[in-house]
């Protein structure tokens, strides 16, 4: 895995010296609570500064001034933060940051003055001039909402001592989009639910759709939502789902966090019970599913992201159920990031065609799995 130490200055194609990025550690390669089912947890706060327009209505030069100002604020808050002005980075560097969840897809693609500050462990990132002036986000492997709550609020409070947030007691934190008004808080938990999905194949009629609908109904009751792997409007690839809150006004953040925790606990229980029942009723079928995935991953010469994600999902299930011990969950999660297009190009230090990426992806997976 490329890291800050072994690859200090890549992206010669990036404009000027700002083209190099220092990659933080890949925290997804560490394991966390409930990691048999929960991949990761994330919390973010949307904040805007008093005295500046929101992004859609920036006056000429305002966006640049704000970016410079916030860069200094973040340096004052935590001198150890890495900071990059995204216009100074290559498209590949921005893609790598998106794939590590440091920035959103939109933030990677935008053209105006914007930036990102992040910690060396990659577990904290602050987007500057995304949809809101600040998007403060913290991550953890597995399910760990209470520590995220503490971390994100501590950082938010430290920033609040240096800027004046746009806030009023009636609506709370004023945000660019009314769906974030209030707490500006989004709590997301990413889950791996292969057993709830796998049921469709072995028990037609009592399939995943029914289970996923049950999960979505439960979520709706709590003002939460269920989405695919990459957030809004994405589908659930590789049986990975995100549960997150929608309501940010009229509900205290503690209640929101509790609701997400309760639903996640419920879904984790469903998934575990389904895994157990598969294991009891369809062990050979499940073993076949897992070992076939292993066989393809360790021998294929070309592989698309989507195919790899499906096999890695099967492998993750197999490891959790102790059907296979040739690899661990953390390594699989590392591969899920390292095999993505931006990371492959980062490693190759050049742009790659889709064909070239498929070859390199297959090779990377073979090599990594051979050495676990």
């Amino acid at each position: 895995m490329p890291g800050a130490d072994d690859q200090p200055s890549l992206f010669p194609e990036g404009p000027g010296s700002g083209g190099a990025i220092e990659l933080p550690d890949l925290w997804l390669q560490q394991s966390g609570p409930e990691s048999d089912v929960v991949v990761s947890s994330r919390m973010r706060l949307a904040r805007n500064l008093d005295g500046f327009h929101f992004k859609p209505r920036f006056a000429e030069g305002e966006c640049d001034r704000l970016e410079v100002h916030l860069k200094q604020v973040l340096r004052d808050v935590d001198p150890a933060l890495h900071y990059h002005t995204l216009t100074q980075l290559s498209a590949t560097a921005r893609k790598v940051m998106f794939e590590r969840h440091l920035i959103s897809r939109e933030h990677a693609a935008d053209e105006h003055a914007r930036g990102v500050g992040y910690t060396g462990d990659g577990r904290t990132s602050i987007m500057v001039n995304e949809e809101d002036h600040l998007r403060i986000q913290v991550f953890a492997p597995g399910l760990d909402l209470s520590s995220l709550d503490h971390r994100v609020n501590d950082l938010d409070d430290r920033i609040a001592r240096r800027v004046t947030y746009s806030f009023d007691p009636r609506f709370g934190y004023r945000t660019s989009c009314p769906t974030n008004t209030g707490t500006g808080l989004r709590v997301s938990v990413m889950l791996h639910l292969p057993a709830l999905s796998f049921r469709a194949e072995v028990r037609p009629g009592r399939g995943s759709e029914q289970d996923i609908v049950r999960m979505q109904n439960a979520a709706q009751q709590l003002g939460l939502t269920v989405r695919g792997l990459f957030g809004e409007s994405s589908r659930a690839e590789g049986e990975f789902y995100q549960i997150s809150n929608q309501v940010t006004l009229g509900r205290a953040p503690e209640k929101t966090i509790r609701d997400v925790q309760e639903l996640v606990d419920l879904v984790v229980g469903w998934e575990r019970r389904n895994r157990e029942s598969h294991l009891n009723e369809n062990k050979s079928r499940l073993e076949d599913h897992v070992w076939r995935a292993w066989a393809v991953l360790t021998h294929a010469r070309r592989m698309t992201s989507s195919e790899a994600l499906g096999h890695l999902s099967a492998l993750r299930l197999g490891v959790s159920l102790k059907l296979i011990d040739t690899v661990d969950v953390a390594s699989i999660q590392g591969l899920m990031v390292a095999m993505r297009p931006g990371h492959l190009q980062f490693e190759a230090e050049t742009e790659l065609s889709a064909d070239q990426r498929d070859e390199r992806r297959a090779r990377l997976i073979r090599e990594r799995l051979a050495h676990t």
Partner: protein, 214 residues
């Protein structure tokens, strides 16, 4: 505020507002009762809500009106433009279009009343700034109502501790910002170039109170 279902007292997830002959009535229902009463499902409601953000939809549906032509003096956005893009142009839009924004927030979140922290370390519950003891008392009352006596005992002890120990005073974030605001220092971007920024939110009649809290 969390509404209870008008029929069965479960937590309400459907919030309906009817306006007839100028009179507004609100109904709150849980999903089961909403289904029983054949209320349009949330998915559809959400779709409609999203549709209302869709520029094409807004273009065809919007009618010139005094509401639509009102413009924020800070960022220049009209309510129609906001509805087309689904994004505000500045914080003051919340005041300029307060009535419409309140209704919109109620539709999106089921409430337009804030509960949560303030930037200076305070707590707001249902739009009211509360001190710490009041907040714990409210939690105690809720715990008793839910018959969670273990939690209630913990909270009672917490209140006792707070009452016997000297007042902690303002939390570290309570004082005025030590750092300069964007307009206060020559080294910050807002200074000298403030013409580009919106006016202070407290300059308008419907002040946000943002300046007061900091």
């Amino acid at each position: 505020m969390i509404h209870r279902c008008a029929r069965c007292d479960s937590p309400a997830t459907f919030h309906l507002t009817d306006i007839k002959n100028g009179t507004k009535t609100e109904r709150h229902l849980c999903e089961e009762c909403a289904k029983a009463l054949q209320v349009p499902q949330a998915k559809k409601e959400l779709q409609n809500l999203l549709k209302s953000f869709d520029p094409a939809h807004a273009m065809t549906r919007s009618r010139p009106s005094s509401k639509g032509s009102r413009v924020c003096p800070d960022c220049g956005i009209s309510y129609v433009e906001f509805r087309q893009n689904g994004r505000f142009g500045c914080a003051r839009d919340y005041d300029i279009f307060a009535k419409e924004v309140t209704a919109l927030l109620e539709r999106i979140h089921g409430s337009a009343v804030y509960s949560g922290k303030t930037p200076d370390g305070g707590q707001i519950i249902d739009g009211v700034l509360v001190d710490e003891v009041t907040e714990v008392r409210a939690r105690l009352a809720a715990a008793i109502e839910k018959e969670d006596y273990e939690q209630a005992a913990r909270l009672r002890d917490e209140i006792r501790r707070m009452s016997t120990s000297p007042s902690p005073g303002p939390s570290p974030g309570t004082g005025p910002s030590p750092g300069p605001g964007p307009g206060a220092s020559a080294s910050t971007p807002g200074s000298g170039g403030r013409a580009g920024g919106p006016g202070r939110p407290d300059a308008g009649g419907a002040s946000s109170g943002a300046a007061e809290t900091h």
